[in-house]
Symmetry: C2
Subunit: 476 residues, 2 copies
Amino acid sequence: MGKTSGTRGTSAMENRVRSLPREESGQPEEIFGLDPDFVAEIDDALEDGHEDVVRELVVPLHYADCADLIESLHGEHRQRLIELLRPDFNPEVLPELPDDIRDQIVETYGFADFAAIIEELDSDDAVYILDRLDEAEQAHVLARLPIETRTIIEQGLNYPEYSAGRIMQRELVAVPNYWTVGEAIDYLRSNAVLPEDFYVLFVVDPRHRPVGVVRLNRLLRAKRPVKLRDVMSTEMDILPVDMDQEDVAFLFRRKDLLSAPVTDASGRLVGRITIDDIVDVIDEEAEDDILRLAGLSESSIYVSTWETVRNRFTWLLVNLGTAILASLVIGLFEDMLTKVVALAVLMPIVASMGGNAGTQTLTIAVRGLAMKELTPSNAMRILGKELLVGGINGLAFAVLTGAVAWAWFDEPMIGAVIAMAMVINLVIAALVGLLIPLGLERLKIDPAVASGVFLTTVTDVVGFFAFLGLATIFLL
Amino acid sequence: MGKTSGTRGTSAMENRVRSLPREESGQPEEIFGLDPDFVAEIDDALEDGHEDVVRELVVPLHYADCADLIESLHGEHRQRLIELLRPDFNPEVLPELPDDIRDQIVETYGFADFAAIIEELDSDDAVYILDRLDEAEQAHVLARLPIETRTIIEQGLNYPEYSAGRIMQRELVAVPNYWTVGEAIDYLRSNAVLPEDFYVLFVVDPRHRPVGVVRLNRLLRAKRPVKLRDVMSTEMDILPVDMDQEDVAFLFRRKDLLSAPVTDASGRLVGRITIDDIVDVIDEEAEDDILRLAGLSESSIYVSTWETVRNRFTWLLVNLGTAILASLVIGLFEDMLTKVVALAVLMPIVASMGGNAGTQTLTIAVRGLAMKELTPSNAMRILGKELLVGGINGLAFAVLTGAVAWAWFDEPMIGAVIAMAMVINLVIAALVGLLIPLGLERLKIDPAVASGVFLTTVTDVVGFFAFLGLATIFLL
């Protein structure tokens, strides 16, 4: 399976250097995505049955644009476009599509033709797509692939999800460590089954374990009789196939790596991961943190309405539970509230400030864990700092809020009570904002998910309880 | 200025292939960062004045580890380590350090020695560091650089912040379009001032405008008399120097680019951006979104306590304002609250559910804008969907909450009122959660920043007003 990225489906654009518009273009945000007018044009052409026009416009598109176009169309039109593209379908479009549209393509083209498209993809993309088909479809497609491709993909599917083995590419050039520069160059010139593109040669020992890397520019600049071992760099990080992809991404970032060899349990070279594979992992990781902090499991605005309703319902239900818990706390002080109605007016302030201050600490902690800045060794120091920050801001807002409350209700004791409750809640918020993600991490649960609910439950309950409880003590 | 990354300061580690631990290592999270025991060992050695031991242990460290070590030490020990490292200071450590420690190094080494370190860095790293010094320091360091290096860095500093010009590297290999493969290879073999590492040749026309790219593996595999224009790829995106870095990152992701030429206003090739430069931009961008959504401007857990207090204070102050606004709304209904205390108990539920539902919509919208999935052309469709989702979940939670309230206070009308308020607030939350980021984007303000305050202000005010207002109508 040759590496075909960036070469297929581009014939119509060859010899056309695309220079991006400069400042004279008023709308830089429009230079990337698909022009809505273009989508409308295709839509009209499909409506009118001008198939030639559609093919002429769509076939030369970059695969990312083509995928966006397919996604933008609906119903009958999308189906017709998929059918029209069949003879020239660009395999690179597949990984860019959401699962349901990919299923539609499998149904339209049938397993044999779909397998033919899969075969032209890089092994990592092929594994990604096969993994996302349902089991029956997967078996049907695999059965229609040539034995070598099938074996490679099946191996890929056997690696744990989110592991280095899943994101690596099998396509690489490995050369023995006893070769000279001349032998390597002759091999590259002679051999027909090389990957389409590569930037380094991996040097392996007789047991196929990686011992070094030769960058092509070194190879080009060296003299033919020089031994590869004298131009290779041995400064490399070797990744086990089962390494977690987030750890791989962290290592790439920390060490500014461009590529790294991947080895199986016996140390044999089985693939390579390059920095461009890592970009997707980084995007996913950041996306996950952002979405989970807001209690979302959908990943894009394209998810269907019904699925969106269901996804969000669960989270809102949990929130309803915690809101009711907070109300139960308030309910404990019903008598007090009828006597001093000012308390009902002011009580959301304490809870809200605690929730916001806690979210600040929580967000820093979740990102610190994700970026491996927050570790068991510095957790105590950070806790001390967060408690101090919570205490200082707690005092500042105690003074401010106390003064406002006193002025508003002309009752100094109400000011004193809200001030005390504020300090308590902001310190608790700092404590809990840090301990929740650390605790989840230790339990091997993603610290981003569910942290927010726990936090606001605590800050609401503590906020209402401290404020109304102190009021009961000091105002009666 | 030669490209030196990855080759300096590694001599002690050459010939040492680092294989990462496999599953037998119980604590995979510890394989990356610095071992706390190691830090303690260095700390002790510094305390006891064992300078040789410190140098022996620290000099061979990877630059990322070395930077972490400097950051982990405090006061006198950090200062002593910086002094000890002076003769072997690895320039790559500099970009990894926070600003205040970099200032400490400038002070310790003096401008001349600091300039000598800067000179060994890639142009993009040098520009980054100079940019972060204060003006006086910047002028002193620039004055001590050789004229060519200074010119390059000054040009870099003149490009707008966050532009392609700031993140590009000037080091590249450009060859004329009339050369043959043989001529290019001879040039690479002869020329002494080439960058340390490169993966492609940029082919330029006589006016130094990029016309194509030759990947080194193509060059190696082609015959000497072949023209470069016959092996070059013209499928490339050319980036203007003033393009926004987030747009550059978007383009790299969308098109799966590995590198792209950067041109000045007259179309001349002035630099190149590679995918590894983009990783930092992507990280920053995601980080910004995450932090701004939580109202944070600090970027790491390492920020000092005092700065953290100040950063968070501002945001909490804004929140206090909105919380007081919500209290004012509650204050309008004081009479009502004394008559029906159940309202005080239940009212936080409506506000809280609105805030959470709105945050879900808001987060999806902010990410959709950042990833350029949400555009003017599909905003109306997404709005329709979000309103529908808000309405459906609003009805679901109206039923649930209404039933709970009815059962709790044994008063059907309280259930009906909270149910109506819930539907209103969840629909408003969806509307506002989408319109706020869209509006900020149109005003060219980062949609992530401040969205959250506006949103919760609206959901609190609407929540309390709808619930207490409806109660006034229906319960009296």
